[in-house]
């Protein structure tokens, strides 16, 4: 298609104007996106959409009352994109009559629009407006919101008033106006709702260190020292639990292979010689001393069964077997992402197995890691997410209810923590939902009579899934399989009598 035509080329867009209140020179940095601009000499708030810059409000402030730590007009790189600081406001809440104030910086990029930095007592958050609605649950205490698979707990609600402004804003800012702000936290992120009148704006902030901001904006000196602990400041402890989970993630693929192996072994029938792999068993019932196994139209008969599938399935397959109570499984989401190129990375380059600190997910494994090619341009990442917070049944429902688009967003949103340009690199995402992916040990799992009885069963049906160990890991799967086979062999040996 032709793109020629007398389109004007990009013109310099920074407008220089004069304040109608005091005549001082004003610069509009956010091009024509600014809705209000503040004169820093006479503190007039002006209508930036009006060519005459009508004065909307005047407020009183001392000279240099609250100088921004990031001077307006300074540029810095946030998540790979250059932003210019264009606006600054101080907001104040009162708790038990005591005022607490924080600062918000308005950042602008002409292609990507506005984002915000907030600072309170040396704690910084990088904040942007949410583009889809979180789900609010007020029936629990504390109330929660969930957004892209992550649950945020209510932290506080307060009326926040604007007490000082400078520069440009993409909305009609006024000193003295207030809105109801609620914070929901899941470190290092915080989701905030701001209610003005009937309208609610949702935003998400992510904790960022002052040092990173100083580096990004090339600021002199040191960032202000942090005082206290902030609501969504990450705790250094939680990274360790993630590390434990990822150990499972790495073994998961191997585990499924093992399950399939044991599953086929379970169907060792003696009617006909041969190996009957890849048959879907739908019913197991007792017949005489042994069992009848129905798979499709075929009935197999066998003396022993080693049931190596997840043990909870037994009550659906084995006639007369009661449902289990002590076994709990987490649903997992796994996804294969096809990458046309490698993204930029924050911190360090991707390795085989990559876990993000403070992420609710288990990160990803590079599926071309063992490729011997010296130059790999395209690759596939396998992304793992154990939905392990909260009730498994609810998480299964969530996994089922949300569509590909939702999970795609959630996955990319998570990867953006480290790879800001991931959306540019991904050409395809295949998402798998696994309802009962992994057993998870809950309190009492070790001493559960149900688990112990199933693990040491001496009858002709033996159980061999790794969930009997409470943990779905490769070593346990192998141990349970070998152990079940030993028990079958010793029963066969006893029946045949002593050998000579």
């Amino acid at each position: 298609m032709s793109t020629s035509g007398p389109n004007p080329p990009g013109k310099p867009q920074v407008r220089s104007l004069n304040c109608p209140g005091c005549g001082a020179a004003l610069t509009l940095r956010s091009l024509s996106q600014a809705v209000t601009v503040v004169c820093d000499h006479c503190h007039s708030i002006l209508d930036a959409q009006d060519p005459r810059l009508t004065i909307l409000q005047k407020f009183t402030a001392a000279v240099d009352e609250d100088p921004p730590l990031i001077p307006l007009g300074t540029r810095g790189k946030i998540r790979g994109t250059d932003y210019e600081a264009v606006g600054f406001q101080r907001r104040t809440i009162h708790v038990d009559g005591i005022p607490y104030s924080w600062h918000e910086y308005v950042l602008f990029n002409p292609y990507k629009g506005f984002r915000y930095l907030t600072e309170y007592n040396g704690h910084w958050n990088d904040t942007s407006i949410l583009r889809s609605l979180p789900t609010v649950n007020n029936d629990v205490s504390p109330a929660t919101v969930s957004y892209l698979g992550e649950t945020y707990k209510h932290f506080q609600t307060a009326k926040a008033g604007t007490s000082f402004v400078l520069g440009e804003f993409p909305w009609q800012v006024r000193v003295g106006e207030s809105s109801d702000v609620s914070d929901y936290v899941s470190p290092p992120r915080v989701i905030s709702s701001e209610r003005t009148g009937k309208e609610v704006t949702w935003s998400m902030g992510e904790y960022i260190s002052g040092r990173d901001i100083w580096k990004a904006f090339g600021l002199q000196g040191e960032p202000p020292e942090r005082i206290g602990v902030y609501e969504n400041q990450p705790s250094p402890l939680s990274a360790e639990t993630t590390a434990i989970w990822v150990a499972f993630g790495g073994f998961m693929v191997v585990l499924f292979v093992m399950m399939i192996l044991f599953w086929s072994f379970a169907r060792s029938e003696q009617v006909v010689e041969g190996n009957y792999a890849n048959r879907m068993v739908h019913k197991i019932s007792r017949r005489g001393k042994g069992f009848s196994v129905l798979a499709g139209d075929t009935e197999y008969q066998t003396e022993f069964i080693i049931f190596a599938a997840p043990t909870f399935l037994a009550s659906y397959l084995v006639e007369g077997m009661a449902p289990l109570h002590d076994f709990e499984y987490s649903p997992w989401l796994t996804a294969n992402l096809t990458l046309e190129q490698f993204p930029d990375s924050y911190g360090t380059d991707p390795t085989w197995d990559n876990v993000f600190m403070e992420s609710p997910t288990l990160g990803y494994v590079d599926a071309t890691h063992q490729s011997v090619r010296s130059h790999v341009e395209r690759t596939v990442w396998t992304f793992y997410w154990a939905l392990a917070d909260g009730l498994p049944s609810e998480n299964r429902q969530l996994l089922l209810n949300k569509d590909w688009n939702y999970w795609k967003e959630a996955i990319l949103h998570d990867l953006e923590r480290v790879h800001h340009d991931i959306r540019k690199c991904v050409s395809r995402i295949d998402i798998m939902r696994m309802g009962h992916a992994m057993a998870r040990p809950k309190v009492g799992a070790i001493f559960s009579a149900e688990r112990r009885n199933l693990a040491k069963a001496h009858g002709r049906i033996l159980f061999a899934n790794s969930d009997l160990s409470g943990f779905s890991i490769f070593e346990e799967a192998q141990y349970r399989g070998v152990n079940a086979a030993d028990r079958v062999l010793s029963q066969v040996a006893r029946a045949q009598g002593p050998t000579h």
Binding site: S2, N7, Q13, V14, Y111, S132, W171, Y406, K424
Partner: protein, 208 residues
């Protein structure tokens, strides 16, 4: 792709249609609003200067949405009490879509006919279309403030219009346009700048 051409009935300049189904276009030279009839182009109005607007998209900007290439061929600018926003008319694989750019927040929508629509909406009300639950997030009273390029319908000389925006938890997005007697529904989703793989964007001096 053949591009039908004609001459502007007002100034004689060559008019090229990028999209064969366009109904209206604006002469790039004399800013006459031209509507296609069976035989020729008819001048129906004149575009005043467009309001200052810094959308990075321009006529001829290309991109990709849902693996489908698109090109921006026209736009409508609306004004409201917080500034203005653009509805870019996209042509993709011979169908029409809209890219809304409000202060660099991007939403792609498609006209959705045949759904039941309320005669008016209030913030907080919920509606379900195509099994997505939407909540009304804003009701905006806007007025038309200019057109550029090709549009799939006649659109000019409009006055005040009410737009209702709705969001779903899935990232889906809906707009009801009450400018006509019969409200029109557009369904789509919010998109990130990077996802659209834009080409031929406007340049802003000092920014890359």
């Amino acid at each position: 792709m053949t591009q039908p051409t004609a001459n502007c009935p007002n100034c004689g300049a060559k008019i090229t249609f990028r999209w064969s189904s366009s109904v209206q276009t604006v002469c790039e030279y004399c800013k006459s609003i031209l509507v296609r009839t069976d035989i020729d182009l008819k001048k129906v109005g004149q575009v005043a200067d467009l309001p200052p607007n810094s959308s990075p998209v321009q006529i001829g900007t290309e991109g990709v949405y849902n693996r489908q290439a698109f090109v921006a061929v026209g736009r409508i600018i609306y004004e409201y009490d917080q500034g203005n926003w653009n509805e870019w008319h996209l042509v993709m694989n011979n169908c029409s879509a809209w890219l809304s750019d409000a202060q660099d927040e991007y939403v792609v929508t498609f006209a959705a006919q045949g759904r039941k629509l309320p005669s008016e909406c209030k913030v907080g009300q919920r509606y379900t279309w195509d099994s997505d639950d939407y909540t009304v997030t804003t009701v905006t009273k806007a007025h038309y403030s200019g057109v550029e390029g090709e549009l799939p319908f006649q659109y000019w000389d409009k006055d005040d219009v009410v737009f209702v925006d709705l969001m779903a938890t899935s990232g889906k997005f809906a707009t009801i346009d009450y400018s006509d007697e019969n409200p029109a529904l557009y369904l789509g989703k919010a998109v990130e700048f990077d996802e659209l793989n834009f080409k031929n964007l406007r340049n802003f001096e000092g920014w890359s």
